[in-house]
Subunit: 830 residues, 2 copies
């Protein structure tokens, strides 16, 4: 915990008046200093303060980095510093145009933070030389804003998530101002275009405030931007339509003196912060009735502002030509070298830095103190603020089951009961996110203790909507992911529940987050974050009714390409294993945990104790399901991962037990998919010895898998017995409309698994020819039945693990009846 968070609320109003000369000079000098340091990073290897005439050897051989957006980011930083100091306002700076990396590094250096975390980069000439040299240089730092950048939670890679991240940071931080710069290029992306609507999900009392700043510099890489080329009246309507009060600052064009632009910026910033303070005050007083029209700022400046206006006869400032490195040949031509020299000197570095290379005190005094510096805010290094969740004992939510499969439960519904207790115990640092699917995914128990966040109109008939809800639902996977990322990166916890097929919508976002986590683990001052936890339900095998478009288990494949130390994949087969898994993932740090679990009524195979033990191992032999004697070697191994594949595997084991009682069958269930991998490939990987003990080195393994079959081959590629592993999984075969029909279409059904066994166990082909034919017939019979009746054949639908009949059923009555009862109510259909 830090002093920043414990301070009393600081949302204050101040009289709006022009900057006095001293302040104006400080703001302008800060801006010039940041610009100077930015240009220096892009161009200079040496001679950082131009103590000697600029020589071509002082210029980097490869000129990398992006100038175009940088002066605007620096301009805003300087102005924000003024108001932060005047108002003691805790603030976080989120920069959508993260390719303006030099600017953020420059400001962190000016504030002293850079030298605090990288002690080698000192606040003197030698430190400045190193600062310049390391930028986008081998062994140095990336050219974009990155985990290496103090004060950042937002990578400058893929565009579109600035506002989502900003709102995620603001949730549950009632005293935090998040100044979020949206580039006009980024503004064209889909995720950004909808993220403006985040203002309908923010609570003016309990959440912080996002101040969006749309920076119109007019150009992208090679094109003008849409929002810069519509009339201002239209742009204002758009922003009002998004629910904001827009303020406009425009200037710097055609050589306009920055002084006048500073005054306009300062005036607008004070106006906007005063409006925020008024909203905050009325919200806290309970007098706010309408959804507030939060302020936003439109800042229109030239792209590449303050660089040479024209180079080689071509317009550079206020043009897309300043996007990257305006002077490409500074090392090669004297003319360009002179232009660079003049450009650098135009910032008057001699007024900004003293003889030792340190920022002069007058300018340095613009920086706020300590953690109020945006580069030093603990909110940008969320691990510093992270508190463990208070986790209620998941054992108290266990499904009682007298014997394997004896009790039917809806796994995610059971999880929802525990999650509602988690929500209750952690009212300020845990949220659930989902695209309108929390109830559909059967987590509705959480609505017993909280609501869905909703700041837009609420009608009398509405259920579970409130300004202060802990469940975030908007029909945008991008928003859910972006909000959650922002929430995690600022030191909180969360879960994203989503239909499995549509989580691919955020494939590229999870790439970026995985890369962020990977890099932060190598940065000592970055503290560990809570893991990014997915709950993928309404999964591929339960999308028979919604059809082919809703079937895709490939998110697992996608994440498995990321670094092994980041990625975990869990496929709990029942409610108790899901509880145990989720308790584990909510305690974990710095991972991306993908948990796939069903929401439909299904057998509970393991008691809570057995589930805990099974999850701790990650995989294991289910002895009760097999027919080998202890110490035996099996004739065949039935592997399974995923709830539906496990069910089909057990049904196949049952068929084999009944029909080939002397066949020694072993059933191995896998919860933690990464256990299949070699220990040299993944921290969770099994040793070859342990793997061989479970799966044998030479016996056929029929593996029923939740997703695309290839992943199992990939994970077991190095194993001795891998050529004996035969995988059944999802094959993109098209549409059917009952669960078992779909399983059959992909040859993952119990009958086909028995056929696979017969075809692969040496010598069984002849002996079990009759059984094989029975299985073929059973499939035809099942298919005919569904086509006739529109539902699955009862002998399949109502099958339960046979031990139930012997031991009697649990409280809920016989499992068979429970399943039948559900089947009659029709499928789930959201």
């Amino acid at each position: 915990m830090t002093s920043t968070l414990d301070r009393p609320s600081s949302w204050i109003t101040r009289e709006v008046e022009p900057l006095d000369d001293g302040t104006l000079a400080r703001v302008d000098a800060w801006w010039r200093a940041a610009n100077y340091l930015s240009v220096g990073q892009i161009y200079l290897l040496d001679n950082p303060l131009l103590a000697e005439p600029l020589h071509r050897d002082h210029v980097k051989p490869r000129l990398l980095g992006h100038w175009g957006t940088t002066p605007g980011l620096n301009f805003l930083y300087a102005h924000l510093n003024r108001v932060i100091q005047e108002r003691s306002q805790s603030a976080l700076y989120v920069t959508g145009p993260g390719h303006g990396g030099p600017g953020l590094v420059a400001n962190a250096y000016l504030e002293g933070t850079y030298s605090e975390v990288y002690t080698d980069i000192t606040t003197d000439t030698e430190g400045m030389r190193k600062l310049f040299r390391q930028f986008s240089f081998p062994g140095g730092i990336p050219s974009h804003v990155a985990p290496e950048t103090p004060g950042s939670i937002h990578e400058g890679g893929e565009l579109g998530y600035a506002l989502s991240h900003a709102y995620g940071a603001a949730f549950d931080n009632p005293d935090l101002l998040v100044a979020a710069v949206v580039g006009d290029g980024e503004a064209e992306t889909g995720p950004l275009a909808t993220s403006w609507h985040s203002n309908k999900f923010v609570d003016p009392v309990a959440d912080g405030v996002v101040l969006p700043i749309l920076h119109l510099n007019g150009y992208k890489i090679a094109n003008p931007t849409v929002l810069a080329r519509i009339p201002e009246s239209e742009l204002l309507e758009l922003m009002r339509g998004y629910g904001h009060t827009p303020y406009v600052v425009s200037g710097g064009f055609d050589g306009e003196d920055p002084t006048t632009v500073h005054q306009r910026m300062a005036e607008v910033l004070d106006q906007a912060l005063n409006q925020i303070a008024e909203i905050k005050a009325s919200a806290r007083a309970g007098t706010l009735t309408e959804r507030p029209r939060w302020p936003m700022i439109i800042l229109r400046t030239p792209k590449g502002w303050t660089c040479p206006p024209v180079i080689d006869g071509k317009q550079v400032e206020d043009s897309w030509r300043s996007h990257q490195v305006p002077l490409a040949s500074a090392r090669d031509t004297d003319a360009h070298l002179q232009v660079l020299d003049g450009w650098l000197r135009s910032y008057r570095p001699e007024e900004l830095f003293d003889a030792t290379g340190a920022l002069v005190a007058e300018v340095a005094s613009l920086a706020p103190a300590g953690e109020l510096r945006m580069s030093a805010t603990p909110h940008a290094n969320g691990g510093q603020l992270l508190r463990d969740l208070r986790l209620p004992d998941f054992r108290d939510f266990a499904v009682e089951t007298a014997s394997p499969g004896a009790t039917i439960a809806e796994a995610t519904k059971v999880l929802g009961q525990w999650l509602s207790a988690v929500v209750e115990a952690n009212p300020e640092n845990f949220r659930l996110f989902g695209p309108d699917e929390t109830a559909s995914n059967r987590l509705q128990a959480v609505f017993d203790v909280t609501d869905k966040a909703w700041a837009a109109e609420i009608l009398p008939a509405d259920d579970n909507l409130a300004r202060a809800g802990r469940v975030m639902e908007m029909l945008s996977e991008h928003q859910c992911q972006g909000w959650l990322e922002g929430y995690l990166l600022t030191g909180r916890h969360g879960v994203f529940s989503c239909y499995e097929a549509f989580i691919h919508i955020i494939d590229s976002m999870v790439n970026q987050h995985a890369k962020w986590l990977k890099v932060t683990q190598e940065i000592p001052w970055r503290q560990p974050l809570a893991s990014l936890n997915y709950l993928l339900t309404s999964h591929v095998w339960r999308q028979d009714h919604n059809g082919f478009s809703h079937q895709d288990p490939g998110f697992i494949d996608h994440v498995v390409n990321k670094k092994a130390e980041i990625v975990r994949v869990y496929l709990p087969p029942d409610a108790n294993t899901l509880l145990s898994t989720y308790d584990h993932v909510l305690r974990s740090r710095d991972y991306i945990n993908v948990v796939v679990a069903g929401k439909q009524p299904a057998p509970t195979f393991l008691s809570m104790d057995d589930a805990i033990a099974h999850c701790a191992r990650g995989l294991g032999i289910w002895e009760w399901a097999g027919t080998e004697e202890r110490g035996d070697s099996p004739d065949v191994v039935l592997g399974c991962a995923g709830d539906v594949p496990t069910l089909e595997t057990l049904a196949a084991a049952d068929l084999l037990r009944q029909n080939l009682p002397d066949l020694k069958v072993r059933v191995v269930n896998v919860v933690d998919l990464m256990r299949l991998q070699d220990e040299r490939e993944h921290p969770h990987g099994l040793s070859d010895r342990d793997f061989d003990t479970l799966f044998t080195r030479d016996k056929p393994v029929i593996f029923a898998y939740h997703g695309y079959p290839w992943l199992i081959h990939r994970l077991t590629y190095r194993r001795a017995g891998h050529s004996n592993i035969h995988v059944r999984g999802y094959k993109e075969e098209g549409t059917t409309t009952t669960p078992f029909d779909m399983v059959m279409l992909n040859d993952l059904d119990r009958f086909h698994l028995v056929i696979d066994v017969i075809d692969r166990v040496p010598g069984l082909g002849t002996r079990a020819a009759g059984l094989r034919q029975q299985m073929v017939d059973a499939r035809l019979r099942a298919r005919d039945y569904t086509r006739q009746h529109g539902e699955d054949i009862p002998e399949v639908r109502d099958w339960v693990w046979p031990d139930v009949g012997e031991t009697g059923a649990a409280d809920g009555g016989p499992a068979r009846d429970q399943i039948s009862a559900h089947a009659a109510t029709g499928g789930d259909n959201e």
Copy 2:
């Protein structure tokens, strides 16, 4: 070609006046008929026209489908039919809320189209019975709008792409009206939120017109929608801010008589179409100076309109409870069965269908004729309209090369020259799409013959912007993909060029398109479409300078999970193979072609003739690069796929030739990645015999691959020699900032490949211990150099294939000089 397209332009204005009684009755009757058929599909197995009292056995055992959005879609269909007929207006209906599948099927059936394409579903009682039964029934049709639905180009799966698809359909179809329904749930998605801006990219002269209809029914699965819960004034500002002229129709609430809503809808529709006609006329007359503010319609109706308002005491109509199946227990309880009976009869089917079950003529007369029926428009079955591209001979654009590697070329720049000729030769049915990256990806030659489409403000300094450009650039991968899909689905051709890392943004969209293609191939009346062609450049190995966030080669892995008959992946190693590959993919049909190619100066290894032969085989031995005698068996195979891996492999082969001249090295280059797969797995797959001939069954294979190494293992999993294949590829290792440093970080560099050879060829470890140490030292030297100088060590950077020295270089001077010259200008940095 169809009559529809050859008709004279039909954008006409008509006086706006109330519907006469007959028309009003027809519109209302059509709507009731469509609603009746929709409810029938969701609920009924039999007794389609209620000839006998409704019995529980007439009700489906699993009640699936979505009612909530359906009456609104039907309402619009009826009204559009009226104006299509009155104005002879060619029209396409795109329904964002595609889960309203029953409605689209119902209208196609009412128009007769359904019975034309599915002759078994006749226009009588028996046909209606089958129509009802097949809906979301095993062996029947999906519950969402799907390829099976006549008149559709837009799957009802993932939400967000209705407007992008609609605009894609409208481009280059100047007489086409695309009525695009946007659900208020879908409107919350990112892609949809930015797709409103498509109106800045449409040419009022040469393109058709999209009429967006925002259907506010207020609720999603379990929540209200954002746009329904902001004040109407705010919503109107939003739509004006998006550049539209909004028209509002609201009604049907609290039992309001639909008649009055019909009149308001008709009035607004006529007003909107008149405004469109006026814009069209002035555009064609050349008097349109400003960007038109195209009309859009906001239709606010109750969700589930016309279903029972209250069921079991809970509000259903005008509530999220009508989203799916309002009556879940119609088969189980008499009360619900009676409610269903009453609901069905409320549409007065006896007035709509005659004794045979056919639609009565008076109602049927609302349908337009022939291809003007939205369910029968050829635009929705684009293959009917598809014309082959006129492809200029790519050989004329070849890079001359006297010997392998003798000429340096930028592959995508060369391709751009050919593409500019393709653009010129196909001015009406070929477009390029890209998120502000066409020039960055070096395709700028196309701007010699065309412009970027831009209907927003154009300033004097702008380059290559015009209302009628053939290049579509908006900084939204979603828009590019959605536009291109719409363009392809309506029978045209295109290319999407994109940074490799960020193409993951549309992972989920390519899933949906792949599924669409897969299903259409099984539907006889769906004609083949032009393939979806990607050009992924600025690829992983050239993102050293932009850093880790810009590095991801996993899109290939993503698409490879789709059906083999849909997916093709090409990795041309140089400019000539890229030309040959692209000529091939632009001629192909119904595929998703992923082509990864470099934009940096690189050696041209193959002459045009050799390139053509190599691409035709898809892979092959480069005998000139190896050291085995013809007929020999090699000691080691160096496999390679991708331009940078190929370069490193050849450099490794060079090192081996110089240092171990008696080692028999074979170099195999792979262009068509799917050739590696088994012929049983992929149509392009090699037979085992051919594979073994190339790669041997028992010799070590060191395979340098463009992407994540696992894919090569996956593709070669079934091969005899697969355990001898050792793959080097991308490993998510983090950031460096020179090309060779990055290659080294992933152990894909020439020196490491030589080490791999030494470590894996039996007996070589001892004999080549000295060389191995040299390679280790060379890596250290190379790394030290980059850290010292900020660029790659010249011995690596300037390396060229040694034959060049012997044969002399081509026109452009020695390859070495060409590479050095480029290196000095600094890297590419967009």
